[in-house]
Symmetry: C2
Subunit: 446 residues, 2 copies
């Protein structure tokens, strides 16, 4: 879509990169020009390719690329072409993952997985997911152009099912690699009644080949994902990149409060059992429980007053809770504290309150060794290695307790994501690509 | 509607009342049998007639009687018949008010207005409005049966437009008597596109006769209305009746809060500008402002989080304010205090908040002299004369600053109103009717 291309790819810079001199890998990885000194070409290239990818959409006028859609098909083909250009073999697997392989120096070596996703939310930004895929492909290309082979094979995976917009379950592609994909998910249907199985077959995939995907722990070194932060921490601290400590665990709950409805004019304040005022006090208790636990976040995203009227004291209120922490212990502790405060508030106000737990997902902790190597790579560019949790879910979490995984976060403007305003600068992306290459070097040398 | 008649009117008790001995007026007014000793017949009669009236509905299955509807027509005819039976002349005026007149001893005497309304909300209770009309008719009937005439004429008015369900403006019938009816209201249309003028003509009224209604202050003693409390105060204090000090003034406003939306997982608590958490704090400030001012009530009836999602920090919240007090000064002071606290909360949280005043109606203060006579009448039954404001609006407020008015509240179960569960006991109604008769005696003797 032409109007998505805010700036044209800088063909000259792309060309100069592709045809660059031998030793480009070393330069890109921060070795030749000294710590922190980079020419930014890799970042510009990646930014240009993200623009090109963002033009592939299911909905003209903005970026929407749903799993197994026509736009997903075109994007997968483009990414496969980029992989081949980068010196990889490329194929689309049984679940629609695009997998590019860059062989190791020696056959039989273990494999390092790099990747992220190329599906999007509706009216998306162009960095969420795609950044990690394109950065990995360009990192391999830099190695390939320098005829650099590693002691491990690299597989770059472009997952297609991270956002979970089309079908009920999510992370199907990454779960399959991790041996966690439930075959029952093939029968899930989208809003149009099309099953995942049917959509896969129309995409040209053979869902019966599913079991062949499983990445065994023995032959896989780990999984590393570059992703925009989708939050404001790095921007606040003026850092281009950071290392993810864990993908936060989450508790989702609904709180229902029943008080007594009444006429706004006729019930004196001391006689009220106002469900909304009780809710207000409970919300502030939720906030206080989160504020007193650094690293934990708690959000009331929805609050409804059914059958409300300006002149009626609310008799019933429902609200949602979303509580996240990299520490499961801290999260469970906070949920208990919130329950306790809600009970006390309800008792004092003469209303009833029920906290109904929806789902609970434990935190997925990043691998210490891989993360330390990312930190060392960041420090080699003269940048403080900030470690922070990821409050959002990512493909990486599918690998929890199966293979080691780590994530590199890239600063994004205003912390904005899932929005056309989503933005990461070419300069920051360039540093992320450099860190990834430096990281590959470090793993290589171990 | 047969199924509305939970109990059949006790024909025997009605008959015995109607055919009762001379002196019945004195007995009913609490004179013959001593303070507080009543046989309850008047209350039973009124309760029975309220059941009969409640059977007249526009919507089978529950009580809904809108202004100028077929059910209103039938109810008006029934009330007019009851008025005639009670010794009054009765007619339906240009706005559909049913007006029954009981002449004074001498022609040219001033007139005391008694009344309330016979329209209802949808799915209403049977006491709101109708109680005041039927009680006034039965009080006159008690006088008439004893051949009692007063030094003043009595006009009992059954207004038809108190609830404001059908047309935009309300209290049209009472405003017309007070000389406050705006002719433009005749052009208001209902949901079906029928104008008030058309509806009046279909009802058999002649809207052009409007100006003849005006009750001049010189020839009118005042207006007295019996009404259920619609609140829990009398029940809490174990009192059957109370005297209204004023019909509360009201300020209606909308508060709009703009914060910054964000991902529930990725924005640390200290970096949030959560519109809903700001709203929660503002709600509690509203509550505190009301609690610290006895007699003032403040209600947040509606609160909305547009485009909300469980995993999104709310960026925008709107809520309503409804603030009432019998003291305009106290209400204006509370609104200022609430604005101030909202500003401080918004500033501290980095959100913006606007308080948009919708409408403001000053308090309508009841006449001291008429209220004192009601109090004396209550005391004559050995009951403490509790004075309390009315948080709800009533026909009486239309007479503010035109003629003196007073109101007698009757205890209702649980403070419930605008609901089929609305209930006032025959015993309490009997006391209210006795107080009204005693009050007429007191006015008479002055």
């Amino acid at each position: 879509m032409a109007d998505m291309r805010l700036t044209k790819p800088d063909d000259a810079s792309i060309k100069s990169f592709i045809t660059g001199a031998a030793g480009e890998f070393m330069q890109a990885a921060g070795h030749s020009a000294g710590n922190g000194a980079r020419n930014g070409a890799l970042g510009e290239t990646i930014a240009a390719r993200l623009l090109e990818l963002a033009a592939i959409t299911d909905e003209p006028g903005h970026l929407t690329r749903l799993y197994l859609s026509p736009a997903h098909r075109k994007a997968a083909d483009l990414v496969a072409a980029w992989m081949r250009e980068a010196g990889m073999t490329a194929q689309i697997d049984a679940l629609g993952n695009v997998v590019g392989r860059y062989d190791a120096r020696n056959p039989g070596a273990r494999t390092l997985l790099l990747g992220s996703h190329i599906d999007t939310v509706r009216n998306a930004g162009r960095f969420d997911g795609a950044l990690g895929v394109v950065t990995a492909v360009e990192a391999v290309k830099a190695a390939s152009k320098s005829a650099k082979r590693f002691a491990f094979a690299i597989e770059v995976v472009a997952f297609g099912d991270e956002e979970g917009v089309r079908f009920a379950s999510t992370l199907g592609g990454a779960k399959a690699l991790a041996g966690k994909f439930a075959a029952s998910a093939l029968d899930e249907t989208d809003d149009g009644g099309v099953s995942r199985r049917q959509a896969l077959m129309a995409f040209g995939c053979d869902p019966s080949q599913l079991r062949e995907l499983t990445a065994s722990a023995e032959r896989t070194l780990g999984y590393v994902e570059v992703h925009i932060e989708q939050g404001p921490v790095l921007e606040q601290e003026n850092l281009p990149v950071g290392i993810v400590t864990a993908i936060a665990g989450v508790t989702r709950a609904t709180v229902e409060i029943d008080g007594v409805a009444g006429h706004a004019g006729t019930v004196p304040m001391p006689l009220r059992k106002d469900a909304l005022m009780a809710a207000a006090e409970m919300l502030l208790a939720v906030e206080a429980a989160a504020r007193s636990r650094p690293g934990l976040v708690a959000t009331v995203g929805k609050l409804e007053v059914p059958a409300s009227a300006t002149n009626t004291i609310p008799g019933r209120v429902c609200f949602t809770l979303d509580i996240r922490s990299a520490s499961d212990r801290e999260r469970i502790d906070a949920v208990a504290a919130i329950r306790q405060s809600h009970d006390a508030i309800a008792r004092r106000r003469g209303v009833s309150a029920r906290v109904l737990i929806g789902h609970e997902v434990p935190a997925a902790v990043c691998d210490r060794r891989l993360s330390d190597q990312l930190a060392a790579a960041i420090e080699s560019f003269g940048i403080a290695p900030r470690r922070l949790p990821s409050g959002a879910g990512h493909d990486a979490m599918a690998f929890d307790k199966v293979i080691p995984f780590a994530m590199l976060f890239v600063r994004c403007r205003g912390g904005t994501s899932h929005n056309p305003d989503e933005y990461a600068s070419p300069a920051d992306i360039d540093i992320a690509a450099g860190v990834l290459l430096n990281f590959l070097e470090r793993i290589e040398s171990q």
